[in-house]
Symmetry: C2
Subunit: 332 residues, 2 copies
Amino acid sequence: MGITSHDVARLAGVSQPTVSRALRDDPRVSQATREKVKRAAQALNYVPSEAGRTLSTRATRRVGVIVTDLTNPFYPHVIAPLHDELSSLGYRMMLITERSDEAVAEEKLLDQSMDGVVLATATTDSRLPAQLERRGMPYVFLNRDTGRAGDFASVVDNEGGGRLVARELVALGHRRIAGVFGAANTTTGRERELGFRLALAEAGVGLPESRVVRGAFEYDTGYRALPALLEADEAPTAVFCGNDVVAIGVLNAALAAGVKVPDDLTVIGFDDLPMASWEVFRLTTVRHDLRELSRQAARLLVRRIAKDVDPAGERLVLPTEFVPRATHARAR
Amino acid sequence: MGITSHDVARLAGVSQPTVSRALRDDPRVSQATREKVKRAAQALNYVPSEAGRTLSTRATRRVGVIVTDLTNPFYPHVIAPLHDELSSLGYRMMLITERSDEAVAEEKLLDQSMDGVVLATATTDSRLPAQLERRGMPYVFLNRDTGRAGDFASVVDNEGGGRLVARELVALGHRRIAGVFGAANTTTGRERELGFRLALAEAGVGLPESRVVRGAFEYDTGYRALPALLEADEAPTAVFCGNDVVAIGVLNAALAAGVKVPDDLTVIGFDDLPMASWEVFRLTTVRHDLRELSRQAARLLVRRIAKDVDPAGERLVLPTEFVPRATHARAR
DNA sequence: TTCGCTCGTGAATACGTATGCATCTCATGA
DNA sequence: TCATGAGATGCATACGTATTCACGAGCGAA
């Protein structure tokens, strides 16, 4: 059925090792033999078996990427560039989306079927990093990390981004400000909230718990948060959202509730997904380079696989930038 | 470094084959031995090497999924259920996104590193199916196929869906109708256009080429098509879009151009993505069961791998349903 | 002429698992 | 008591590639 290097060897009239060497351009095979072998391989449509190679070299040239929910619009924008960068580095990508049990993922990860792992949806309370560590499986965090020292991670300056937004809102005269932050067990959620709070406090503006919602970085979180915030005694004049997807949930909820954005309510997101600039949203948000975030993670992982990395951990942080569009205005 | 079945065998005081059998619950090993082996495996944190198993069984329990553009909102909604169904069938998913050369994909596909392939973005002029066929690699089409007999495919009744829309538009009194169809080298593009045209023709309504645009199933296709359609001598009162993503592009363009939907223009999509029901869109569209489409493809592929399939091909077609929301109205 | 070297190739083997076949043990029945 | 057979396990090997080592040819220098 499958054509092996032995078949090629037979046709070319050489030994199997010579085929292996010739096809990988080993300088020790003569020009003439190399060409003869390549012609034979071509003729037979030979493609080396990946399993055989893996067993022999103990390297799979494959990398796993763990994501909980692919239908969240955020993730495709990180997975696509990740795939491309890994591909250009000679690695393939295995997608693993496990919202279920960690044990399953663990089993899949440790069977030597990949050389490394990208964790794109890590939570601060996850046991997975420790498991990987123990088994010597190289891994890096993408976007979120555990916040502990020694991590290998490609992340964004979330705290700085949060600060940017707070300063803008204060400058626009907002005082009754609300936050729909990400889950408390994610560093992205925590750090954006922290930066936002610190900068508000510096300006002497409070952020009472009654105007704070926390939840998954999903559309529904934003969609459901707004009605709750509007019911409070003093409705907010501005909402900072944990990310663009949440902000888009808020914008839709605002439309449903008849709240005018930005006249009645300022809404700010985070990430600057392509969707954020659609006419129906024109979302004011915080931009960072999502492509570079992913590429950086890919390169870091490959370096870690090659053990070409600072043993004390490496945390690559990308800057943020405020992007004014049409969902913010001065407080009335 | 890695723990092998030999290590487990040594610890349990049995032979390696016995470990292999015990861990896979082969009835030929005694209860006592089985337990002894499992304890040893547990103690060593043993996970069977996937490469070794693959080489021995000649099955990878891995399936490739080919998609051109993951950032298109449509695909995550097919990939997620596909992943889950494959997972529950005991297969893992390798994501392959190649907009570049087919040769690359081909190389990756034929190295025996997967048992089968799902083609989610096939075009009618692709050479890939023939290559796979020649090499005996099982594959199925998802959503799009080649339109040729003998295909294994999980698809939607696109022609029927197109008809549904045409009849609705005619019933609403529309006569100046436009279409922003998918690419001509996709069956989804062709069939939806065909059904739409046939039903319009039956009602005696024309669809001049000046009111037709064709392009990739992307946001930009819709966004750029609308201005062009509006410039025509007689602007259309209704537009049928190749899918929801295109329709959303049209809706945004309408907003930018100050065209009121549905008062000035009726817009209809196809697919009923979750996004279609967002407040900002409330898109009238054609629904089909996207999850089932994917699950069906997964099951069909697994059956084809097991050779438990009609050799003449199997084409599983899902029905469509018109979903009225807020982007359609009677013609003025 | 012979030693030693380089260059090119092949033989042997490792990698980790699964499986066909042989072997061994023990119980059963004639 | 011994043949028979079932049940349990080990031995040997296959899978396809990469790599280590050995080998032979050819060549230049002494």
